[in-house]
């Protein structure tokens, strides 16, 4: 008798929670892609000594401290210790960029600092240097909850991201939502379908044998449905990220992740 009451209560509580109206874009039972991985891959991500993404983080640390460009300043020259100044930054990106009047992602912000403060040559998308710096900065937020900024100026871009997420595209005529909202946990061929949360980027993907960005992942999904993928840096990819981060709010940053 005594053992049953708490369980009943817990059940009732769960039922109430399930019935309560969740904030827009929120989903119950939110899960990182890591939850769907094999124990081997999870162990690889969890152990810094075996996580290949840590090489990018270490490269990023070196770049953080290296003077660059006409100004001869390093990132550290302005920001000091990344462990304090960059802590939490990745949890709130993409953020609104005053200069362009648009959202900017973390890699874009790094590029802007390089251009305007260091007066250095731009780093191409997916270049090892940009991936390393982004991984290093994002790594400073590892373990912190994703907390998108409540900035009204972002709303229309996030809304466009949602629209892109729900739009069927490509010869296979599928939307991101077709796969990641309704059918997560099912298998697409040999791969388990994740919920599609951008919690761990840049990350090491065994299939790539490299560390890559979220934009690379999103382009892969688009190419997979035989759609014309948005170019690296395209506003649409940043709007998608904005929506995905809102959808992932509360999950913890894992950078650098490992994925199959």
């Amino acid at each position: 008798m005594t053992g049953r009451a708490p369980r009943l209560l817990a059940g009732l509580l769960a039922a109430c929670l399930a019935g309560s109206s969740a904030p827009a874009g929120d989903m119950l039972d939110k899960r990182s892609g890591a939850d769907f991985m094999s124990p081997e891959n999870r162990a690889m991500q969890a152990d810094d000594m075996s996580n290949p993404g840590m090489f990018a983080v270490l490269d990023g640390e070196e770049l953080w401290n290296r003077p660059e460009g006409a100004n001869g300043r390093s990132c550290a020259g302005c920001h000091g210790e990344a462990a304090t100044s960059m802590r939490g930054v990745a949890t709130r990106y993409p953020a609104f960029d005053e200069r362009s009047g648009r959202p900017i992602d973390l890699a874009g912000r790094i590029g802007e600092c390089r251009r305007t403060r260091q007066e250095a040559s731009p780093l191409p998308h997916e270049s090892p240097e940009l991936i390393a710096l982004t991984a290093y900065v994002a790594h400073q937020s590892r373990g912190m909850p994703i907390s998108p900024p409540q900035d009204e100026r972002l709303a229309q871009f996030r809304e466009n991201g949602r629209r892109l997420y729900e739009r069927r595209i490509g010869q296979l005529d599928l939307s991101c939502a077709s796969c990641h909202d309704a059918r997560w946990g099912e298998r697409l061929g040999g791969s388990v379908m994740p919920q599609g949360h951008p919690t761990a980027y840049p990350l090491y993907r065994l299939e790539w044998q490299a560390v890559g960005s979220l934009q690379r992942r999103l382009r892969n999904c688009m190419i997979g449905v035989r759609a014309e993928a948005f170019a690296f840096g395209a506003p649409e990819l940043i709007e998608l990220e904005l929506y995905l981060m809102e959808r992932a709010a509360g999950l913890t940053v894992e950078t650098p992740g490992v994925r199959p």
């Binding site: 739009r167 069927r168 595209i169 490509g170 010869q171 296979l172 005529d173 599928l174 077709s178 796969c179 059918r183 099912e186 298998r187 697409l188 061929g189 040999g190 791969s191 379908m193 299939e207 892969n220 999904c221 190419i223 997979g224 035989r226 759609a227 014309e228 993928a229 199959p260």
Partner: protein, 146 residues
């Protein structure tokens, strides 16, 4: 497993279907009774096609009585027994254009080029499978009796 990657490679190497105009067909009820080519398909080639995860993609979503069940998807009902549950004509319509029956289906229409957005250049204006290939796939599914 590595299907996205393989798809990219495939997109560059081999356009999957010749860009010939679609052949007309008649839908009667929930079936297309007549062969798209006017000839019966080749079930053996159909089996190969259904197994081909890069070309037909069927087993990315469906299980089927074919090798490597651990690489078969769970997004759709199994194809085992399809030939007992459905007539040849019903199978044909489902492969040609499932969305006529289930408008919000995730199953791609295999013999349609219109009503699609943002299709990659190498796949534009081509159906996923040719009329011959559809007939081969249909001929194979008909043999899947329970």
């Amino acid at each position: 497993m590595r299907w996205w990657n393989s798809l990219c490679v495939l997109a560059m190497l081999a356009p999957p279907a010749a860009a010939e105009p679609l052949r007309p067909y008649v839908v009667e009820g929930d079936a297309i009774t007549r062969s798209l080519t006017g000839r019966p398909g080749d079930a053996e080639n159909g089996r190969r096609l259904v197994m081909d995860r890069h070309r037909s993609l069927c087993i990315l979503c469906h299980a089927a009585p074919l090798p490597d069940p651990h690489l078969q998807g769970t997004l759709a009902p199994t194809l085992a027994g399809a030939g007992s549950r459905l007539s040849e004509g019903q199978i044909r319509l489902r492969v040609v254009d499932m969305k006529r029956l289930v408008p919000d289906s995730i199953m791609p229409a295999y013999y349609r080029t219109g009503g699609l957005a943002q299709v990659a250049a190498s796949f534009r204006d081509r159906p996923i499978l040719t009329a011959e290939e559809i007939e081969d796939v249909v001929a194979f599914l008909v043999t899947l009796k329970e």
